[in-house]
Symmetry: C2
Subunit: 316 residues, 2 copies
Amino acid sequence: MPGEPDIRTVTGYLKTLQDVICHSLGTLEPAAGFCVDGWEHPAGGGGVSRVLEMGSVIEKGGVNFSHVKGESLPPSASQDRPEIVGLPFEATGVSVVIHPRSPLIPTCHMNVRFFCAGTGAERAVWWFGGGYDLTPYYGFVDDCVHWHRTARDACNAFGPGVYPKLKRQCDDYFFIAHRNEPRGIGGIFFDDWNHDGFEQAFGFLRSVGDSFLPAYLPIMERRKDISWTPAQREFQAYRRGRYVEFNLVYDRGTLFGLQSGGRTESILMSLPPGVRWSYRYKAPPGSEEARLTEYFLVPRDWACLQVPDIGRSGEI
Amino acid sequence: MPGEPDIRTVTGYLKTLQDVICHSLGTLEPAAGFCVDGWEHPAGGGGVSRVLEMGSVIEKGGVNFSHVKGESLPPSASQDRPEIVGLPFEATGVSVVIHPRSPLIPTCHMNVRFFCAGTGAERAVWWFGGGYDLTPYYGFVDDCVHWHRTARDACNAFGPGVYPKLKRQCDDYFFIAHRNEPRGIGGIFFDDWNHDGFEQAFGFLRSVGDSFLPAYLPIMERRKDISWTPAQREFQAYRRGRYVEFNLVYDRGTLFGLQSGGRTESILMSLPPGVRWSYRYKAPPGSEEARLTEYFLVPRDWACLQVPDIGRSGEI
Protein backbone atom coordinates (compact mmCIF):
# COMPACT_ATOMS: atom_id res chain seq x y z
CA MET A 1 0.00 0.00 0.00
CA PRO A 2 1.43 3.45 -0.86
CA GLY A 3 2.54 5.29 2.28
CA GLU A 4 3.19 2.04 4.15
CA PRO A 5 6.77 1.50 5.27
CA ASP A 6 8.64 -1.06 3.17
CA ILE A 7 11.81 -2.12 4.89
CA ARG A 8 13.03 -4.25 1.95
CA THR A 9 13.08 -1.22 -0.31
CA VAL A 10 15.07 0.66 2.32
CA THR A 11 17.63 -2.12 2.79
CA GLY A 12 17.95 -2.41 -1.01
CA TYR A 13 18.81 1.28 -1.26
CA LEU A 14 21.21 1.10 1.69
CA LYS A 15 23.15 -1.85 0.30
CA THR A 16 23.56 -0.05 -3.03
CA LEU A 17 24.67 3.09 -1.21
CA GLN A 18 27.32 1.07 0.64
CA ASP A 19 28.56 -0.34 -2.71
CA VAL A 20 28.71 3.07 -4.36
CA ILE A 21 30.57 4.69 -1.46
CA CYS A 22 33.13 1.87 -1.23
CA HIS A 23 33.68 1.91 -4.99
CA SER A 24 34.23 5.68 -5.12
CA LEU A 25 36.51 5.82 -2.10
CA GLY A 26 38.35 2.80 -3.48
CA THR A 27 39.35 4.71 -6.62
CA LEU A 28 41.48 6.94 -4.34
CA GLU A 29 43.31 3.89 -3.03
CA PRO A 30 44.60 1.80 -5.93
CA ALA A 31 46.87 -0.25 -3.64
CA ALA A 32 44.50 -0.89 -0.72
CA GLY A 33 40.93 -2.16 -0.76
CA PHE A 34 37.96 -2.49 1.54
CA CYS A 35 37.81 -5.87 3.23
CA VAL A 36 34.32 -7.36 3.36
CA ASP A 37 33.28 -8.76 6.72
CA GLY A 38 29.81 -10.25 7.17
CA TRP A 39 28.38 -10.89 10.63
CA GLU A 40 25.13 -12.06 12.23
CA HIS A 41 23.19 -10.47 15.07
CA PRO A 42 22.30 -12.87 17.92
CA ALA A 43 18.64 -11.71 17.94
CA GLY A 44 18.24 -11.82 14.13
CA GLY A 45 19.66 -10.05 11.12
CA GLY A 46 23.25 -8.97 10.78
CA GLY A 47 25.40 -6.80 8.63
CA VAL A 48 28.35 -6.32 6.35
CA SER A 49 31.26 -4.19 7.55
CA ARG A 50 33.63 -2.95 4.87
CA VAL A 51 36.85 -1.62 6.34
CA LEU A 52 39.99 -0.19 4.77
CA GLU A 53 43.12 0.23 6.92
CA MET A 54 46.60 1.50 6.18
CA GLY A 55 45.71 3.08 2.83
CA SER A 56 47.84 5.88 1.45
CA VAL A 57 44.95 8.41 1.62
CA ILE A 58 42.56 6.67 4.05
CA GLU A 59 44.36 5.60 7.20
CA LYS A 60 41.23 3.90 8.51
CA GLY A 61 37.78 3.92 6.99
CA GLY A 62 34.64 1.93 7.54
CA VAL A 63 31.45 1.72 5.50
CA ASN A 64 29.03 -0.47 7.44
CA PHE A 65 25.62 -1.81 6.53
CA SER A 66 23.47 -3.43 9.20
CA HIS A 67 19.94 -4.74 9.52
CA VAL A 68 19.17 -6.01 13.01
CA LYS A 69 16.06 -7.15 14.84
CA GLY A 70 15.55 -6.98 18.57
CA GLU A 71 12.99 -7.94 21.19
CA SER A 72 13.18 -4.68 23.13
CA LEU A 73 14.02 -1.21 21.83
CA PRO A 74 16.75 0.38 24.01
CA PRO A 75 16.18 3.92 25.43
CA SER A 76 18.95 5.39 23.27
CA ALA A 77 17.09 4.56 20.03
CA SER A 78 14.48 7.32 20.08
CA GLN A 79 14.83 10.61 21.87
CA ASP A 80 11.25 11.77 21.20
CA ARG A 81 9.28 8.58 21.81
CA PRO A 82 9.76 7.17 25.32
CA GLU A 83 6.49 5.20 24.93
CA ILE A 84 7.99 2.77 22.40
CA VAL A 85 11.02 1.81 24.51
CA GLY A 86 10.83 -1.92 25.14
CA LEU A 87 8.88 -2.82 21.96
CA PRO A 88 10.27 -5.29 19.39
CA PHE A 89 12.03 -3.45 16.58
CA GLU A 90 13.95 -3.61 13.34
CA ALA A 91 16.75 -1.18 12.51
CA THR A 92 18.74 -0.84 9.33
CA GLY A 93 21.35 1.69 8.31
CA VAL A 94 24.63 2.60 6.69
CA SER A 95 27.37 4.27 8.74
CA VAL A 96 30.53 5.77 7.31
CA VAL A 97 33.56 7.09 9.19
CA ILE A 98 36.70 8.02 7.25
CA HIS A 99 39.93 8.89 9.07
CA PRO A 100 42.32 10.15 6.38
CA ARG A 101 46.08 9.87 6.88
CA SER A 102 46.71 13.50 5.98
CA PRO A 103 45.97 16.00 8.78
CA LEU A 104 44.88 18.37 6.00
CA ILE A 105 41.88 16.19 5.08
CA PRO A 106 39.03 16.28 7.61
CA THR A 107 37.57 13.19 9.19
CA CYS A 108 33.98 12.65 8.05
CA HIS A 109 31.01 10.80 9.40
CA MET A 110 27.78 9.90 7.63
CA ASN A 111 24.84 7.82 8.80
CA VAL A 112 21.43 7.03 7.31
CA ARG A 113 19.06 4.75 9.21
CA PHE A 114 15.51 3.45 9.39
CA PHE A 115 13.69 2.23 12.50
CA CYS A 116 10.46 0.30 12.74
CA ALA A 117 8.98 -0.63 16.14
CA GLY A 118 6.00 -2.64 17.41
CA THR A 119 4.26 -5.76 16.11
CA GLY A 120 1.30 -6.45 13.83
CA ALA A 121 -1.08 -3.52 13.50
CA GLU A 122 1.09 -1.42 15.84
CA ARG A 123 3.99 -1.76 13.44
CA ALA A 124 3.12 1.69 12.10
CA VAL A 125 5.77 3.33 14.32
CA TRP A 126 8.66 4.03 11.99
CA TRP A 127 11.11 6.82 11.29
CA PHE A 128 14.28 7.76 9.47
CA GLY A 129 17.36 9.39 10.93
CA GLY A 130 20.81 10.38 9.82
CA GLY A 131 23.02 13.14 8.54
CA TYR A 132 26.67 13.91 8.05
CA ASP A 133 29.26 16.07 9.76
CA LEU A 134 32.88 17.05 9.16
CA THR A 135 35.80 17.24 11.59
CA PRO A 136 38.82 19.15 10.26
CA TYR A 137 42.23 19.26 11.96
CA TYR A 138 43.47 22.13 9.81
CA GLY A 139 40.61 24.27 8.54
CA PHE A 140 40.02 25.45 4.96
CA VAL A 141 37.15 27.86 4.51
CA ASP A 142 36.28 26.60 1.02
CA ASP A 143 36.03 23.01 2.27
CA CYS A 144 33.55 24.07 4.96
CA VAL A 145 31.52 26.13 2.50
CA HIS A 146 31.38 23.33 -0.06
CA TRP A 147 30.38 20.77 2.59
CA HIS A 148 27.51 22.88 3.90
CA ARG A 149 26.29 24.05 0.47
CA THR A 150 26.07 20.43 -0.68
CA ALA A 151 24.09 19.56 2.45
CA ARG A 152 21.83 22.57 1.92
CA ASP A 153 21.16 21.59 -1.69
CA ALA A 154 20.23 18.06 -0.60
CA CYS A 155 17.66 19.49 1.82
CA ASN A 156 16.18 22.33 -0.24
CA ALA A 157 13.76 20.23 -2.33
CA PHE A 158 12.06 19.32 0.96
CA GLY A 159 11.40 22.87 2.10
CA PRO A 160 13.41 26.02 2.76
CA GLY A 161 13.37 25.50 6.53
CA VAL A 162 14.84 22.00 6.45
CA TYR A 163 18.56 22.79 6.08
CA PRO A 164 18.69 25.54 8.76
CA LYS A 165 16.87 23.29 11.23
CA LEU A 166 19.03 20.22 10.52
CA LYS A 167 22.20 22.31 10.56
CA ARG A 168 21.27 23.65 14.01
CA GLN A 169 20.44 20.13 15.24
CA CYS A 170 23.85 18.99 14.02
CA ASP A 171 25.61 21.79 15.91
CA ASP A 172 23.60 20.92 19.02
CA TYR A 173 24.24 17.20 18.79
CA PHE A 174 27.95 17.09 17.98
CA PHE A 175 28.97 19.13 21.00
CA ILE A 176 31.55 17.99 23.56
CA ALA A 177 30.13 19.50 26.76
CA HIS A 178 33.14 18.77 29.00
CA ARG A 179 35.40 20.59 26.50
CA ASN A 180 32.81 23.29 25.73
CA GLU A 181 33.71 22.67 22.10
CA PRO A 182 31.89 21.37 19.00
CA ARG A 183 33.29 18.16 17.52
CA GLY A 184 33.77 19.75 14.12
CA ILE A 185 32.21 22.20 11.68
CA GLY A 186 28.90 20.35 11.60
CA GLY A 187 26.65 19.51 8.70
CA ILE A 188 23.12 18.13 9.04
CA PHE A 189 21.51 15.84 11.59
CA PHE A 190 17.94 14.53 11.80
CA ASP A 191 16.03 11.91 13.76
CA ASP A 192 12.44 10.73 14.22
CA TRP A 193 11.77 11.81 10.61
CA ASN A 194 8.49 10.55 9.13
CA HIS A 195 7.07 13.72 7.52
CA ASP A 196 4.48 13.39 4.72
CA GLY A 197 4.41 9.60 4.69
CA PHE A 198 6.89 6.89 3.89
CA GLU A 199 7.57 7.69 0.21
CA GLN A 200 8.37 11.34 0.84
CA ALA A 201 10.44 10.58 3.96
CA PHE A 202 12.37 7.85 2.15
CA GLY A 203 13.00 10.32 -0.69
CA PHE A 204 14.54 12.69 1.83
CA LEU A 205 16.78 9.95 3.21
CA ARG A 206 17.98 9.16 -0.33
CA SER A 207 18.67 12.81 -1.03
CA VAL A 208 20.90 12.97 2.06
CA GLY A 209 22.60 9.63 1.37
CA ASP A 210 23.25 10.44 -2.29
CA SER A 211 24.76 13.84 -1.49
CA PHE A 212 27.44 12.48 0.83
CA LEU A 213 30.02 11.61 -1.82
CA PRO A 214 29.58 14.92 -3.70
CA ALA A 215 30.10 16.65 -0.34
CA TYR A 216 33.25 14.78 0.71
CA LEU A 217 35.12 13.58 -2.40
CA PRO A 218 36.05 17.05 -3.73
CA ILE A 219 37.58 17.89 -0.33
CA MET A 220 39.65 14.69 -0.30
CA GLU A 221 40.77 15.17 -3.89
CA ARG A 222 41.73 18.78 -3.31
CA ARG A 223 43.89 18.08 -0.22
CA LYS A 224 45.28 14.59 -0.73
CA ASP A 225 48.47 15.55 -2.59
CA ILE A 226 49.53 18.38 -0.27
CA SER A 227 52.43 17.36 1.97
CA TRP A 228 52.25 17.76 5.72
CA THR A 229 54.74 17.97 8.59
CA PRO A 230 55.29 15.58 11.52
CA ALA A 231 54.08 18.39 13.82
CA GLN A 232 50.80 18.58 11.88
CA ARG A 233 50.47 14.82 12.17
CA GLU A 234 51.00 15.09 15.96
CA PHE A 235 48.29 17.73 16.18
CA GLN A 236 45.94 15.44 14.24
CA ALA A 237 46.60 12.63 16.78
CA TYR A 238 45.88 15.04 19.64
CA ARG A 239 42.64 16.29 18.07
CA ARG A 240 41.53 12.74 17.29
CA GLY A 241 41.32 12.35 21.07
CA ARG A 242 38.33 14.71 21.00
CA TYR A 243 36.68 12.43 18.45
CA VAL A 244 37.09 9.48 20.80
CA GLU A 245 35.77 11.49 23.75
CA PHE A 246 32.62 12.44 21.86
CA ASN A 247 31.91 8.96 20.53
CA LEU A 248 32.39 7.13 23.83
CA VAL A 249 30.83 9.69 26.20
CA TYR A 250 27.95 11.19 24.19
CA ASP A 251 27.17 9.47 20.90
CA ARG A 252 23.70 7.88 20.94
CA GLY A 253 24.50 5.64 17.98
CA THR A 254 27.46 4.16 19.85
CA LEU A 255 25.42 3.75 23.04
CA PHE A 256 22.53 2.18 21.10
CA GLY A 257 24.91 -0.29 19.50
CA LEU A 258 26.59 -1.28 22.76
CA GLN A 259 23.26 -1.43 24.70
CA SER A 260 21.51 -3.53 22.06
CA GLY A 261 24.28 -6.13 21.99
CA GLY A 262 25.55 -4.91 18.64
CA ARG A 263 28.84 -5.99 17.11
CA THR A 264 31.48 -4.13 19.10
CA GLU A 265 34.15 -4.15 16.37
CA SER A 266 31.73 -2.60 13.86
CA ILE A 267 30.43 0.00 16.34
CA LEU A 268 33.90 1.04 17.44
CA MET A 269 35.19 1.07 13.86
CA SER A 270 34.56 4.83 14.19
CA LEU A 271 37.52 5.24 16.58
CA PRO A 272 40.63 6.72 14.97
CA PRO A 273 43.73 4.64 14.26
CA GLY A 274 46.34 6.68 16.18
CA VAL A 275 45.47 9.01 19.05
CA ARG A 276 47.43 10.96 21.64
CA TRP A 277 46.29 12.59 24.88
CA SER A 278 48.57 15.32 26.24
CA TYR A 279 47.97 17.16 29.48
CA ARG A 280 46.95 20.79 29.01
CA TYR A 281 48.04 21.16 25.39
CA LYS A 282 47.76 24.77 24.26
CA ALA A 283 48.13 25.79 20.63
CA PRO A 284 50.62 28.66 20.13
CA PRO A 285 48.76 31.99 19.78
CA GLY A 286 48.26 32.93 16.14
CA SER A 287 49.06 29.42 14.87
CA GLU A 288 46.98 27.36 12.44
CA GLU A 289 46.32 25.02 15.37
CA ALA A 290 44.85 27.88 17.43
CA ARG A 291 42.80 28.97 14.42
CA LEU A 292 41.06 25.59 14.37
CA THR A 293 39.31 26.19 17.70
CA GLU A 294 39.11 29.98 17.47
CA TYR A 295 37.68 30.27 13.98
CA PHE A 296 36.57 26.92 12.58
CA LEU A 297 35.07 25.24 15.66
CA VAL A 298 32.56 28.04 16.14
CA PRO A 299 29.05 27.48 14.73
CA ARG A 300 28.60 29.77 11.73
CA ASP A 301 26.52 29.98 8.57
CA TRP A 302 29.12 28.35 6.30
CA ALA A 303 26.76 27.88 3.35
CA CYS A 304 26.22 31.65 3.08
CA LEU A 305 29.88 32.73 3.35
CA GLN A 306 30.88 34.71 0.25
CA VAL A 307 33.64 32.50 -1.14
CA PRO A 308 33.78 30.51 -4.38
CA ASP A 309 32.57 26.93 -4.02
CA ILE A 310 35.18 24.29 -4.89
CA GLY A 311 32.42 22.45 -6.76
CA ARG A 312 32.00 18.81 -7.49
CA SER A 313 35.11 18.64 -9.65
CA GLY A 314 37.31 19.73 -6.77
CA GLU A 315 38.25 23.02 -8.52
CA ILE A 316 37.28 26.53 -7.47
CA MET B 1 34.17 14.60 69.14
CA PRO B 2 35.68 11.13 68.60
CA GLY B 3 33.90 9.25 65.82
CA GLU B 4 32.85 12.49 64.12
CA PRO B 5 34.16 12.96 60.61
CA ASP B 6 37.01 15.46 60.38
CA ILE B 7 37.59 16.48 56.78
CA ARG B 8 40.70 18.55 57.60
CA THR B 9 42.47 15.50 58.98
CA VAL B 10 41.55 13.61 55.81
CA THR B 11 42.78 16.34 53.46
CA GLY B 12 46.00 16.57 55.50
CA TYR B 13 46.65 12.87 55.02
CA LEU B 14 45.77 13.02 51.32
CA LYS B 15 48.13 15.93 50.61
CA THR B 16 50.96 14.08 52.33
CA LEU B 17 50.15 10.93 50.37
CA GLN B 18 50.34 12.93 47.13
CA ASP B 19 53.77 14.27 48.16
CA VAL B 20 55.11 10.86 49.09
CA ILE B 21 53.91 9.21 45.86
CA CYS B 22 55.34 11.99 43.67
CA HIS B 23 58.64 11.90 45.52
CA SER B 24 59.00 8.12 45.21
CA LEU B 25 58.01 7.95 41.56
CA GLY B 26 60.28 10.92 40.91
CA THR B 27 63.34 8.97 42.06
CA LEU B 28 62.79 6.69 39.02
CA GLU B 29 62.94 9.72 36.72
CA PRO B 30 66.05 11.76 37.46
CA ALA B 31 65.66 13.79 34.25
CA ALA B 32 61.91 14.49 34.34
CA GLY B 33 59.79 15.85 37.17
CA PHE B 34 56.16 16.25 38.12
CA CYS B 35 54.81 19.65 37.16
CA VAL B 36 52.60 21.22 39.82
CA ASP B 37 49.36 22.67 38.59
CA GLY B 38 46.91 24.22 41.05
CA TRP B 39 43.31 24.93 40.06
CA GLU B 40 40.10 26.18 41.65
CA HIS B 41 36.63 24.67 41.47
CA PRO B 42 33.88 27.11 40.42
CA ALA B 43 31.61 26.04 43.32
CA GLY B 44 34.38 26.11 45.95
CA GLY B 45 37.61 24.29 46.70
CA GLY B 46 40.02 23.13 44.07
CA GLY B 47 43.00 20.89 43.67
CA VAL B 48 46.59 20.33 42.76
CA SER B 49 47.37 18.16 39.74
CA ARG B 50 50.90 16.83 39.49
CA VAL B 51 51.68 15.45 36.07
CA LEU B 52 54.81 13.94 34.54
CA GLU B 53 55.00 13.48 30.77
CA MET B 54 57.70 12.13 28.47
CA GLY B 55 59.75 10.55 31.24
CA SER B 56 62.10 7.68 30.43
CA VAL B 57 60.15 5.22 32.63
CA ILE B 58 56.81 7.03 33.03
CA GLU B 59 55.42 8.09 29.65
CA LYS B 60 52.51 9.86 31.33
CA GLY B 61 51.61 9.90 34.99
CA GLY B 62 49.31 11.96 37.12
CA VAL B 63 48.98 12.22 40.89
CA ASN B 64 46.01 14.49 41.61
CA PHE B 65 44.69 15.89 44.85
CA SER B 66 41.30 17.57 44.91
CA HIS B 67 38.93 18.97 47.51
CA VAL B 68 35.73 20.27 45.98
CA LYS B 69 32.41 21.51 47.32
CA GLY B 70 29.14 21.37 45.45
CA GLU B 71 25.53 22.42 45.87
CA SER B 72 24.03 19.18 44.57
CA LEU B 73 25.49 15.67 44.73
CA PRO B 74 25.38 14.04 41.24
CA PRO B 75 23.85 10.54 40.88
CA SER B 76 27.21 8.99 40.01
CA ALA B 77 28.67 9.83 43.44
CA SER B 78 26.98 7.15 45.51
CA GLN B 79 25.71 3.86 44.19
CA ASP B 80 24.02 2.77 47.45
CA ARG B 81 22.42 6.02 48.62
CA PRO B 82 19.96 7.45 46.08
CA GLU B 83 18.31 9.48 48.88
CA ILE B 84 21.28 11.84 49.23
CA VAL B 85 21.47 12.76 45.52
CA GLY B 86 20.94 16.50 45.25
CA LEU B 87 22.30 17.40 48.72
CA PRO B 88 25.22 19.81 49.15
CA PHE B 89 28.49 17.90 49.50
CA GLU B 90 32.23 18.00 49.94
CA ALA B 91 34.53 15.49 48.26
CA THR B 92 38.26 15.08 48.61
CA GLY B 93 40.61 12.50 47.19
CA VAL B 94 43.86 11.51 45.58
CA SER B 95 43.89 9.79 42.18
CA VAL B 96 46.90 8.22 40.55
CA VAL B 97 47.24 6.84 37.03
CA ILE B 98 50.66 5.84 35.73
CA HIS B 99 51.18 4.91 32.07
CA PRO B 100 54.75 3.59 31.81
CA ARG B 101 56.65 3.78 28.55
CA SER B 102 57.66 0.13 28.63
CA PRO B 103 54.95 -2.31 27.55
CA LEU B 104 56.43 -4.69 30.13
CA ILE B 105 55.38 -2.47 33.04
CA PRO B 106 51.64 -2.47 33.74
CA THR B 107 49.55 0.67 33.91
CA CYS B 108 48.29 1.27 37.43
CA HIS B 109 45.43 3.21 38.94
CA MET B 110 44.88 4.15 42.59
CA ASN B 111 42.21 6.30 44.16
CA VAL B 112 41.34 7.15 47.79
CA ARG B 113 38.44 9.50 48.47
CA PHE B 114 36.16 10.87 51.18
CA PHE B 115 32.63 12.16 50.71
CA CYS B 116 30.51 14.16 53.12
CA ALA B 117 26.92 15.14 52.22
CA GLY B 118 24.16 17.23 53.79
CA THR B 119 24.20 20.37 55.92
CA GLY B 120 24.23 21.09 59.66
CA ALA B 121 22.97 18.21 61.79
CA GLU B 122 22.39 16.11 58.68
CA ARG B 123 26.06 16.33 57.80
CA ALA B 124 26.49 12.88 59.34
CA VAL B 125 26.31 11.24 55.90
CA TRP B 126 29.92 10.45 55.05
CA TRP B 127 31.91 7.60 53.54
CA PHE B 128 35.25 6.59 52.13
CA GLY B 129 35.95 4.91 48.83
CA GLY B 130 38.91 3.84 46.78
CA GLY B 131 41.21 1.02 45.82
CA TYR B 132 43.80 0.16 43.24
CA ASP B 133 43.97 -2.03 40.16
CA LEU B 134 46.64 -3.09 37.69
CA THR B 135 46.49 -3.32 33.88
CA PRO B 136 49.34 -5.30 32.32
CA TYR B 137 50.08 -5.49 28.59
CA TYR B 138 52.48 -8.40 28.95
CA GLY B 139 51.71 -10.47 32.02
CA PHE B 140 54.15 -11.68 34.67
CA VAL B 141 52.72 -14.03 37.27
CA ASP B 142 54.98 -12.81 40.06
CA ASP B 143 53.90 -9.18 39.46
CA CYS B 144 50.24 -10.16 39.79
CA VAL B 145 50.90 -12.21 42.93
CA HIS B 146 52.91 -9.42 44.56
CA TRP B 147 50.25 -6.81 43.72
CA HIS B 148 47.42 -8.86 45.22
CA ARG B 149 49.38 -10.02 48.29
CA THR B 150 50.22 -6.42 49.12
CA ALA B 151 46.54 -5.48 48.76
CA ARG B 152 45.52 -8.45 50.91
CA ASP B 153 48.01 -7.48 53.64
CA ALA B 154 46.65 -3.93 53.66
CA CYS B 155 43.13 -5.28 54.26
CA ASN B 156 43.80 -8.10 56.70
CA ALA B 157 44.02 -5.98 59.87
CA PHE B 158 40.41 -5.00 59.20
CA GLY B 159 39.04 -8.53 59.08
CA PRO B 160 39.68 -11.71 57.10
CA GLY B 161 36.68 -11.16 54.82
CA VAL B 162 37.72 -7.68 53.66
CA TYR B 163 40.24 -8.56 50.97
CA PRO B 164 38.15 -11.28 49.27
CA LYS B 165 35.13 -8.97 49.17
CA LEU B 166 37.06 -5.96 47.85
CA LYS B 167 38.92 -8.13 45.35
CA ARG B 168 35.58 -9.41 43.98
CA GLN B 169 34.19 -5.85 43.86
CA CYS B 170 37.25 -4.78 41.88
CA ASP B 171 36.77 -7.61 39.37
CA ASP B 172 33.08 -6.68 39.05
CA TYR B 173 33.74 -2.96 38.64
CA PHE B 174 36.65 -2.94 36.19
CA PHE B 175 34.83 -4.98 33.57
CA ILE B 176 34.41 -3.87 29.94
CA ALA B 177 30.97 -5.32 29.13
CA HIS B 178 31.05 -4.63 25.38
CA ARG B 179 34.37 -6.53 25.12
CA ASN B 180 33.35 -9.17 27.68
CA GLU B 181 36.79 -8.60 29.17
CA PRO B 182 38.15 -7.30 32.49
CA ARG B 183 40.24 -4.13 32.25
CA GLY B 184 43.19 -5.75 33.97
CA ILE B 185 44.14 -8.20 36.73
CA GLY B 186 42.21 -6.29 39.38
CA GLY B 187 43.16 -5.41 42.92
CA ILE B 188 40.77 -3.97 45.49
CA PHE B 189 37.80 -1.62 45.20
CA PHE B 190 35.51 -0.23 47.89
CA ASP B 191 32.84 2.44 48.17
CA ASP B 192 30.31 3.69 50.75
CA TRP B 193 32.77 2.61 53.47
CA ASN B 194 31.94 3.91 56.98
CA HIS B 195 32.30 0.76 59.12
CA ASP B 196 32.94 1.12 62.87
CA GLY B 197 33.01 4.90 62.91
CA PHE B 198 35.21 7.56 61.42
CA GLU B 199 38.52 6.71 63.12
CA GLN B 200 38.44 3.05 62.13
CA ALA B 201 37.23 3.78 58.58
CA PHE B 202 39.90 6.46 58.13
CA GLY B 203 42.48 3.96 59.37
CA PHE B 204 41.38 1.58 56.63
CA LEU B 205 41.71 4.29 54.00
CA ARG B 206 45.26 5.03 55.18
CA SER B 207 46.15 1.35 55.11
CA VAL B 208 45.05 1.17 51.47
CA GLY B 209 46.70 4.46 50.49
CA ASP B 210 49.98 3.61 52.23
CA SER B 211 50.20 0.19 50.58
CA PHE B 212 50.01 1.52 47.02
CA LEU B 213 53.71 2.31 46.58
CA PRO B 214 54.85 -1.01 48.11
CA ALA B 215 52.48 -2.73 45.67
CA TYR B 216 53.61 -0.91 42.52
CA LEU B 217 57.23 0.22 42.93
CA PRO B 218 58.80 -3.29 43.04
CA ILE B 219 57.01 -4.12 39.76
CA MET B 220 58.32 -0.97 38.08
CA GLU B 221 61.83 -1.52 39.39
CA ARG B 222 61.89 -5.15 38.32
CA ARG B 223 60.76 -4.45 34.71
CA LYS B 224 62.10 -1.01 33.89
CA ASP B 225 65.49 -2.04 32.50
CA ILE B 226 64.24 -4.86 30.27
CA SER B 227 64.27 -3.89 26.60
CA TRP B 228 61.16 -4.24 24.45
CA THR B 229 60.41 -4.48 20.74
CA PRO B 230 58.48 -2.08 18.47
CA ALA B 231 55.87 -4.84 18.06
CA GLN B 232 55.39 -4.97 21.84
CA ARG B 233 55.04 -1.21 21.89
CA GLU B 234 52.35 -1.45 19.15
CA PHE B 235 50.47 -4.03 21.19
CA GLN B 236 50.63 -1.71 24.21
CA ALA B 237 49.07 1.10 22.11
CA TYR B 238 46.31 -1.26 20.96
CA ARG B 239 45.55 -2.45 24.49
CA ARG B 240 45.57 1.10 25.82
CA GLY B 241 42.45 1.54 23.67
CA ARG B 242 40.64 -0.77 26.10
CA TYR B 243 41.70 1.53 28.95
CA VAL B 244 40.14 4.50 27.15
CA GLU B 245 36.96 2.55 26.41
CA PHE B 246 36.52 1.64 30.08
CA ASN B 247 37.22 5.12 31.42
CA LEU B 248 34.94 6.97 29.01
CA VAL B 249 32.05 4.47 28.81
CA TYR B 250 31.85 3.01 32.33
CA ASP B 251 34.02 4.71 34.95
CA ARG B 252 31.90 6.36 37.65
CA GLY B 253 34.79 8.56 38.80
CA THR B 254 35.14 10.00 35.31
CA LEU B 255 31.36 10.49 34.98
CA PHE B 256 31.17 12.10 38.44
CA GLY B 257 33.95 14.49 37.51
CA LEU B 258 32.41 15.48 34.18
CA GLN B 259 28.85 15.72 35.65
CA SER B 260 29.92 17.83 38.62
CA GLY B 261 31.70 20.37 36.42
CA GLY B 262 35.12 19.10 37.46
CA ARG B 263 38.35 20.08 35.79
CA THR B 264 38.35 18.21 32.50
CA GLU B 265 42.14 18.13 32.05
CA SER B 266 42.62 16.61 35.51
CA ILE B 267 39.82 14.07 35.07
CA LEU B 268 41.05 12.96 31.64
CA MET B 269 44.65 12.88 32.81
CA SER B 270 43.93 9.14 33.14
CA LEU B 271 43.84 8.68 29.35
CA PRO B 272 46.99 7.12 27.89
CA PRO B 273 49.49 9.13 25.83
CA GLY B 274 49.52 7.07 22.62
CA VAL B 275 46.66 4.78 21.58
CA ARG B 276 45.76 2.81 18.47
CA TRP B 277 42.46 1.24 17.40
CA SER B 278 42.73 -1.53 14.80
CA TYR B 279 39.76 -3.32 13.31
CA ARG B 280 39.44 -6.94 14.45
CA TYR B 281 42.96 -7.35 15.81
CA LYS B 282 43.62 -10.97 16.75
CA ALA B 283 46.70 -12.03 18.68
CA PRO B 284 48.55 -14.96 17.04
CA PRO B 285 47.64 -18.25 18.77
CA GLY B 286 50.19 -19.22 21.40
CA SER B 287 51.74 -15.73 21.51
CA GLU B 288 52.43 -13.66 24.62
CA GLU B 289 49.76 -11.29 23.32
CA ALA B 290 47.18 -14.11 23.26
CA ARG B 291 48.29 -15.17 26.74
CA LEU B 292 47.32 -11.75 28.10
CA THR B 293 43.61 -12.29 27.47
CA GLU B 294 43.60 -16.07 27.80
CA TYR B 295 45.49 -16.37 31.08
CA PHE B 296 45.98 -13.01 32.79
CA LEU B 297 42.66 -11.28 32.07
CA VAL B 298 40.70 -14.02 33.80
CA PRO B 299 39.69 -13.40 37.43
CA ARG B 300 41.75 -15.69 39.64
CA ASP B 301 42.98 -15.89 43.21
CA TRP B 302 46.39 -14.33 42.52
CA ALA B 303 47.30 -13.85 46.19
CA CYS B 304 47.11 -17.60 46.83
CA LEU B 305 49.12 -18.77 43.79
CA GLN B 306 52.17 -20.76 44.92
CA VAL B 307 54.99 -18.61 43.55
CA PRO B 308 57.70 -16.65 45.38
CA ASP B 309 56.73 -13.03 46.11
CA ILE B 310 59.06 -10.47 44.54
CA GLY B 311 58.93 -8.53 47.83
CA ARG B 312 59.31 -4.87 48.54
CA SER B 313 62.90 -4.73 47.37
CA GLY B 314 62.01 -5.91 43.89
CA GLU B 315 63.87 -9.22 44.32
CA ILE B 316 62.38 -12.70 44.52
